[in-house]
């Protein structure tokens, strides 16, 4: 059996890639993908610990997270469409109206 540390390192790597994408990209679609990566990193963690402790709660939760990710993508795509309609672009640095 693969030790849990490997999964954790994998999960941390996937999470960091997602975070890096979130902080550096300007395209809203890349944003969405980065968020997906981070969610999946969390999922890997859930599964890993679930397997480690022989407890099914983690697996159940990962199912919830997937459903949540699907919903999130639906909303996110909607936002991106509206963004495009208003700014003719999907660059998140362009809209700056909602500020102090």
């Amino acid at each position: 059996m693969v030790p849990v540390e490997y999964y954790l390192v994998l999960s941390a790597a996937v999470f960091s890639i997602g975070l890096y994408g979130l902080l550096t990209r300007e395209n809203a679609l890349f944003f969405l993908m980065s968020v997906e990566l981070m969610l999946n990193a969390a999922n890997i963690n859930f599964i890993a610990f679930s397997a480690q402790w022989g407890n099914l709660t983690g697996q159940t939760f990962s199912l919830f997270v997937m459903a949540l990710a699907a919903a999130e993508v639906a909303v996110g795509i909607g936002i991106i469409l509206v963004l495009y309609r208003n700014f003719k672009d999907v660059d998140v640095t362009v809209p700056q109206e909602m500020r102090w």
Partner: protein, 686 residues
């Protein structure tokens, strides 16, 4: 079985209901009540009178009542060296003293309501519901004050009667004088009440209770503390005895304000701007009595402090003399009566300060009746004179208004202290107590009492003079104006109260004829003495005697009471006789003009108002300006400084929200990192 005590609360509630009714009608703006609200008022005070009489009879059967019926705040832990936590409560104390006072207040209130029919309704005044609302609220608060079983409740009702006094003095608010007189009365009495309030707090802090009577009452605890059997909190590093004197003097501040004693007496003459029935009820018979009643109520506490007693006696005697001297030269009938009121309350204070609890209470009783009578008599004269109060415009009213004349004469004889009218017996007893205790007590208190006795005795002479100067100028001689020639007496509603009070003023003194009792040896005719002796132990006359002897060092010398009585009677007769000689002619001359500049000083009240205004303008005003600067600069400065820091910080910090979604993501990440590092450091991961 339901007894009188179960209904005693209604004594104060009934007039309150009449107040609510009158206010409701006044607010509705329609003339719904016949007589403008007088009838509910009469019904309510009549009911109070009946209930008071029932309570009186029950108390005379030897029963008393001392219960708390509502606790509105209760502490959880005792403070300092006290054994029990504080509780703030309402309760009733019905003992001989309060039962007597209830009877006086409700009787005078009823008669004043009836008299108001003649003075206000028949004269076509407007705003009557407001007037009767004021009278109702006043009666309710005064009765509540009398019923109170603790100092805090007494204080609350004490303030309420002050409010009613303000409202009623300023009844004719469209004129110039009354509103300013009302404000003055309110402010001057409030000045005294400020000390009273501190005194109430001090009593709570010291004893943990403010109850007047019973084993767990503050006078009782004070007594035990002085005997070393109980512990109390004291402040300012004082011994219990000295600290008790301080508390007594603080409470005395309220007494001096309310009972118009020197130097806070200046509001009362101005209060005569109010309607005359109000003067009779509030500024002569009852509210002004609240102050001295309070001293009598907590007499067990004052009896412990010879210093406080000496101050009470000296203030009282000085006020008696001081006010009487000003009454000598006044031209307006109500002004003379106002100064005589101040002077007579001085006598009551003297009696209480001199250790004469019964004497002071007795004078309180008789004075309530004869002074209410005199004010109502003056009211009757004022109606006939079409609201002209100058005595030099009167004269010769004796034939035209016989009922008023004879009742007024009875009141005057009582005021001057001529045997056998009420004032003679009570004033005489006050002076007698001052004399025997002054002679019998060796300490400084004895000397103080003798000085006070001297001043009181001199005031008797003045009282006789100004009283009969007033009677002569008003009723005797030839009419000196057209209105006086055509004066006519009012209807039954004017005469009935006068007759009732006239009879009382003549006879009520007979309840405690100490000189007669001494002469004949029949001590069972001292009814008032026996009545007040029937109180529960903690508030009884015997207890007070015991306290006075043990803690005050007061002892009575052996002086025959008829000698002292004869002396003051002779002085009163000299005063009255000289007034008769000087002013008895058909067309009297203004003899006081001969006093020259002295008359000016007296007529201007020793320039008391001027010096108080000077104090206000040249001492208080600069001080308050300094306080204002402090308030604006320091207090407000700190507050504004704190808020401007937040404002400035906020205006800078809000720029973080720049609308760029990438920055938000970065900040989220940063926050998470900071949290993780924080947990790591404090959680000991490293």
């Amino acid at each position: 079985m339901a007894g009188a005590f179960d209904y005693a609360l209604a004594i104060a509630v009934l007039p309150f209901l009449s107040f609510c009714l009158a206010v409701g009608v006044a607010l509705s703006g329609r003339d719904l009540l016949p007589k403008g609200g007088a009838l509910p008022g009469i019904a309510a005070t009549g009911g109070s009178l009946l209930l008071s009489a029932w309570v009186f009879l029950t108390v005379s059967g030897g029963e008393t009542y001392n219960e708390t019926f509502y606790t509105w705040a209760a502490g959880e832990a005792a403070t300092g060296s006290l054994s029990e936590p504080l509780t703030l409560s309402f309760g009733m104390l019905l003992d001989p003293l309060s039962a007597m006072m209830l009877l006086i207040v409700s009787l005078v209130a009823l008669l004043v309501h009836v008299f108001s029919l003649g003075y206000m309704n028949d004269e076509g005044e407007t705003g009557l519901p407001r007037y009767y609302a004021g009278l109702g609220l006043f009666t309710a608060s005064m009765l509540g004050f009398v019923l109170a079983d603790n100092l805090l409740m007494a204080f609350m009702f004490f303030e309420l009667v002050g409010l009613c006094s303000y409202l009623l003095i300023g009844f004719w608010f469209r004129r110039e004088g009354p509103p300013s007189a009302a404000k003055k009365a309110f402010l001057v009495t409030r000045f005294g009440d400020y000390f009273f309030l501190i005194g109430v707090v001090a009593v709570f802090a010291t004893f943990g209770t403010a109850k007047f009577a019973g084993e767990h009452s503050f006078p009782r605890i004070a007594e035990h503390a002085l005997a070393g059997e109980a512990t109390v909190n004291t402040f300012l590093g004082l011994e219990p005895a000295a600290w008790f004197t301080v508390i007594g003097l603080l409470v005395l501040g309220g007494v001096i304000g309310k009972s118009a004693q020197f130097p806070l007496h200046t509001w009362l003459p101005d209060a005569m701007e109010g309607p005359t029935p109000v003067s009779a009820l509030i500024h002569a018979a009852t509210m002004v009595a609240a102050g001295v009643y309070l001293v009598a109520r907590m007499y067990g506490f004052y009896a412990l402090s010879p210093t406080a007693l000496a101050i009470i006696a000296l203030v009282g005697a000085f006020t008696a003399l001081f006010a009487a001297s000003m009454g000598l030269v006044k031209d307006e009938i109500k002004q003379v009566l106002a100064y005589s009121t101040i002077s007579q309350y001085g006598y009551i204070m003297l009696g209480l300060g001199a250790g004469g609890y019964v004497a002071g209470t007795f004078h309180l009783l008789t004075h309530a009746f004869f002074k209410a009578l005199l004010f109502l008599g003056a009211g009757s004269v004022i109606i006939a004179m079409h609201h002209n109060e100058d005595m030099w415009e009167m004269g010769g009213l004796k034939e035209r208004m016989p009922v008023t004349y004879y009742t007024f004469l009875a009141g005057s004889l009582a005021l001057a202290g001529i045997v056998p009218f009420a004032g003679f017996w009570s004033k005489d007893e006050v002076l007698y107590e001052a004399l025997v205790h002054g002679l019998g007590t060796t300490s400084g208190l004895g000397t103080a009492l003798l000085v006070a006795y001297g001043m009181g005795l001199l005031a008797v002479l003045f009282t006789g003079f100004y009283t009969f100067r007033m009677v002569m100028l008003t009723f005797h001689g030839e009419p000196r104006s057209e209105t006086a020639r055509e004066a006519a007496e009012g209807g039954w509603n004017v005469k009935l109260p006068l007759i009732v009070l006239g009879i009382l003023a003549t006879t009520v003194g007979l309840v405690n004829m100490t000189p007669v009792a001494d002469l004949t040896g029949m001590h069972d005719i001292e009814l008032l003495n026996m009545w007040l002796s029937g109180a529960p132990e903690s508030v009884s006359v015997e207890q007070y005697h015991h306290l006075l002897e043990e803690f005050g060092g007061i002892h009575a010398a052996d002086v025959p009471s008829y000698l002292a009585g004869g002396l003051s009677l002779a002085l009163a007769l000299v005063g009255a006789g000289s007034a008769y000689v000087l002013y008895g002619g058909a067309d009297p001359e203004p003899h006081t003009e001969k006093l020259g500049s002295l008359r000016g000083v007296l007529y201007n009240n020793y320039y008391q108002d001027e010096y108080q205004v000077w104090l206000a303008e040249n001492v208080v005003l600069p001080l308050s300006k300094v306080a204002d600067v402090f308030d604006q600069a320091v207090v407000d400065g700190v507050v504004n400084g704190v808020s401007s820091v937040s404002l400035f910080g906020g205006s800078r910090l809000k720029r973080v929200q720049d609308g760029l979604v990438t920055h938000y993501a970065a900040m989220l990440t940063l926050g998470l990192t900071v949290l993780l590092v924080g947990f790591a450091v404090y959680g000991g991961w490293f």
